[in-house]
């Protein structure tokens, strides 16, 4: 009789479909396939795909790389903490690390140029969140993620942390320039 009682017909699996159900299943299935194929389609024709290039690393090794990179391309210092602003050449490998509670160093990139941005965390997990562009990437300790980025608007951007990383989480915010 109803959904809380056993089916009226023993052989319920042979009960014919109503046309409403059949039509809807067909429409919904086609929509599901469209949504599925959008993802591979975007990998071929779209310009915003998250890179899969990742290497295992350690906080020690990665920290040294970022330090060497910052020393090489430093152009000035900002804020009371004297955070280096780093201006690498177009096409370069650029490095950034997340730690309690800062992103380091400050990058200065050129509009329309492409860079290989390396990301890793020194301690806990962090969330790379570029604002107001709103691009968000998970950053894990022990994993060096290489994301190829091409800025398309000049300006001053913020990089927040959007993965909870302890009591100073809400102060973990840095800057990024695109000239």
């Amino acid at each position: 009789m109803s959904a809380i009682l056993p089916p009226e017909q023993r052989i319920w699996w042979k009960q014919p479909l109503d046309r409403v159900e059949g039509t809807w299943i067909l429409i919904a299935f086609v929509w599901c396939l469209i949504m599925f194929f959008m993802m591979p389609y975007w990998h071929v024709y779209g310009k915003q795909n998250l890179s899969n290039e990742t290497y295992k690393t350690t906080p020690d090794v990665y920290g040294k790389k970022v330090q060497a990179f910052a020393d090489q391309y430093k152009v000035r210092e900002e804020t009371d903490e004297k955070i280096p602003v780093v201006h690498p050449p177009a096409g370069a490998d650029v490095y950034m690390l997340g730690r309690l509670w800062a992103w380091w160093p400050i990058l200065e990139l050129e509009n329309g140029k492409t860079y290989r941005l390396h990301l890793s965390a020194m301690d806990y997990q962090h969330g790379f969140s570029l604002q107001p562009e709103n691009i968000n990437i998970q950053v894990l300790p022990g994993y060096e993620h290489v994301v190829t980025v091409t800025p398309n608007r000049a300006g001053t951007y913020a990089i927040m942390c959007n993965e909870f990383c302890g009591i100073g989480h809400h102060k973990m915010v840095s800057r990024l320039y695109v000239k």
């Binding site: 809380i4 959008m38 806990y124 990437i137 959007n162 809400h170």
Partner: protein
């Protein structure tokens, strides 16, 4: 017969038959659920008034601590206690069987209570502010992981009691033919729960050993991959359980029968096969996993589980439409829904749950579960916006609706203050709906989740969010308050009814059972032999839903195409 001590009563109002042991355990699990909801709800109010940036009520340390407890009390304890009650109801009560091994069920319940209490205490002591997800290497206290493990073991026992009861009912021939659709849905939830709890054990046991120093380190990506097999799959238990509750309420409130058993059961089968793959949603913006892995899993193998939800979204209201039309509400496309009992909270709660889950939770979930689109909202407040639409508007409201039915039938009390009960689903459901939309809006503007202060006071390079983001958080706060009032009414009405509601006739306990003997129809008939299109109104609703879905989906692709090039 097997168990001479088994006592049964038949509810004089609904004709449901309760086994005494099952009845007690259903009650206790439901009460534990509501207690968890109460604690989680008080914290929800404090968190709400803090994220409402203009008010910013509590300090950072308490905010993060309360957010951790809120997540656990709501997502784990309220939901799973209630689900165990639903499992016992759908097996013992609906199949008119005794509950298998009530002693073990008591042990399971004891473990769950112990685990929940331990987790609450250790977090409130300030020892484990690690959020619901407790991502390593963020350190939690060993008791925190231990509490979760104990709770999970207790819930696992509950699942096996449910399966055992199905076996007992079959062996003792308490029903004929196949199990009811609602029990089938509960079985789906149970199978997913076993998978979920196994994933939880695989990752939480080593994490516990890490927290006491036996293991040196836990790989953060491994943790995330396996933990989400627990964290997201536990929400899939909710989906299966609340869809089962929708069918149950359609049956209870309208005498609706499934449009076709084959379609509805087939859709549940798709859940069993594919729903858990969705845990990949959480890893789409992670390093270290390939795009092929992400695409296959996040699409639940080509969206076959989304298809199942879209089917339930049609067949539940469709079955109501058919039942209403059979009663004579046949004018136009929509008389059946206009003349539905909108003043009955059992129905209104269920219907708002269905619409909210589909339009808000479903569409946003598929959007954020798309590999590339995920980067636009990962870890923003959009994510809690989505899952409050699924777990709160969807699951919680469906469970609330069911309680209004259970109070007179299971607890034998009259619902106090029916006027308040009548408006409760509207306040809670609609308040929560606007709350979710505002959170999604703020997330689209980049506002992070789990964040105490979006003014970044004290930071050397603060970022200033646009005024719209503040507006969104204000709307979220105001709508959230409406929902909190709805939540308070729910707790007041349920607890009040249990304590001082008018006692109703219980019916006598006897060892006698009324076996479910159905007049089994042999002819194979569908619904629509006459018209051929049995639920046209529902079909129109479905097309409206699809249009919204398609538009919103492609708007996000359009937005993605404007951001920085990434490859």
């Amino acid at each position: 017969m097997a168990n001479v001590a088994a006592l049964f009563r038949v509810c004089p109002r609904t004709g449901l038959q309760y086994h005494r042991s099952a009845e007690t355990l259903i009650k206790l699990n439901a009460v534990a659920a509501v207690v968890s909801l109460l604690v989680g709800g008080i914290l929800a109010l404090l968190i709400l008034l803090t994220r409402w940036q203009a008010i910013h009520l509590i300090d950072a340390e308490n905010f993060y601590m309360f957010l951790t407890v809120h997540g656990l009390d709501m997502l784990a304890f309220w939901i799973i206690f209630f689900e165990i009650a639903v499992l016992y109801f759908c097996s013992s009560t609906l199949l008119r069987s005794r509950l298998a091994t009530p002693g073990m069920a008591w042990a399971g319940f004891g473990l769950m209570v112990l685990g929940a209490v331990l987790v609450n205490v250790i977090v409130f002591m300030g020892e484990s502010t690690v959020m619901f997800t407790s991502y390593v290497p963020l350190p939690g206290h060993p008791v925190f992981y231990l509490g979760l493990i104990l709770f999970a073991v207790g819930a696992l026992i509950g699942c096996f009691i449910f399966l055992g009861t199905l076996v007992v009912a079959k062996a003792e021939k308490t029903y004929e033919g196949s199990i009811p659709l609602v029990t089938f849905g509960a079985l789906t939830a149970c199978i997913i729960a076993v998978f979920t709890i196994a994933s939880g054990a695989i990752i939480l046991i080593p994490t516990f050993l890490w927290s006491v120093g036996y293991i040196k380190s836990i790989d953060p990506l491994m943790y995330r991959t396996i933990w989400w097999g627990f964290g997201h799959s536990s929400q899939q238990i909710n989906v299966s359980a609340h869809v089962a509750v929708w069918y149950a309420i359609a049956a209870i409130a309208f005498g609706a029968k499934p449009m076709s058993e084959r379609v509805s059961r087939g859709a549940f089968l798709l859940y069993i096969l594919f729903l858990q793959l969705a845990s990949a949603h959480h890893l789409l913006s992670d390093p270290g996993l390939s795009s092929e892995w992400k695409i296959f899993n996040t699409s639940y193998a080509m969206y076959l589980a989304v298809l199942a939800s879209m089917v339930h979204g049609l067949t539940v209201p469709g079955s109501i439409e058919v039942a209403q039309r059979a009663k004579g509400y046949t004018r136009g496309l929509f008389e059946w829904i206009r003349k539905a009992p909108w003043g009955n909270p059992v129905f209104s709660g269920m219907f708002i749950s269905l619409v909210g889950f589909g339009f808000l939770g479903g569409i946003s979930g598929v959007m954020m579960g798309t590999e590339q689109l995920n980067m636009l909202i990962h870890n923003t407040i959009y994510v809690p916006g989505h899952f409050h639409a699924t777990v709160v508007v969807g699951t919680t409201l469906a469970f609330m609706a069911l309680t209004y039915f259970l109070i007179p039938s299971l607890f034998n009390r009259e619902v106090i203050n029916p006027g308040l009960a009548k408006v409760q689903p509207y306040l809670f459901g609609l308040g929560m709906g606007v709350f979710c939309l505002a959170m999604m809006g703020a997330g689209t503007l980049g506002v992070p989740r789990r964040h105490w202060d979006i003014t970044f006071a004290g930071a050397s390079m603060p970022y200033e969010f646009p005024g719209t983001a503040w507006l969104m958080l204000g709307i979220m706060g105001a709508a959230g308050l409406v929902a909190v009032i709805g939540g308070i009414i729910y707790i007041y009405v349920t607890v009040g009814s249990l304590l001082w509601g008018k006692r109703l006739d219980v019916g006598a306990y006897t060892p006698q059972r009324t076996i479910l003997r159905m007049p089994i129809a042999t002819a194979l008939t569908g619904h629509g032999e006459a018209a051929g299109f049995a639920a046209p109104g529902t079909f129109v609703f479905a097309m409206v839903f699809l249009t919204a879905f398609v538009l919103y989906y492609f708007v996000n692709w359009k937005y993605l195409s404007t951001v920085w090039g990434l490859s």
